[in-house]
Symmetry: C2
Subunit: 65 residues, 2 copies
């Protein structure tokens, strides 16, 4: 299976796991809807910083206000 783990990059540089085994990612303005293979959903106020699909990693970053 080719789902990814989604992390949020904190201000101190650490990556915090937000949701694992994510299948669907739908950005919408300054929010991102995440849905994993267990049908868990999360909406995060963030944007995509980088994805490394082969490593199953999606890194989100907070939006500056």
């Amino acid at each position: 299976m080719c789902e990814a783990n989604v992390y949020l990059l904190e201000d101190n540089g650490t990556e915090v796991l937000i949701l694992d085994s994510v299948d669907r990612v739908i950005p919408n303005n300054d929010e991102i809807l995440l849905e994993n293979i267990y049908n868990e959903r999360k909406i995060v106020k963030a944007r995509i910083k980088e994805m490394e699909l082969v490593n199953h990693r999606i890194i989100l970053e907070k939006i500056d206000n």
Copy 2:
């Protein structure tokens, strides 16, 4: 391998393959850098509309000017 195929959604609703076997996706303002497992790179003026990782699909949409 868990790379994805990246498509651009055209105005008429068709999806045009932009780059296959994409590993890394890095959005930057209104551009997206795509890099595949063969080290091919493309920069597309678009944004991410939706990703379905289990289906290896990333759909981009054009940015309205």
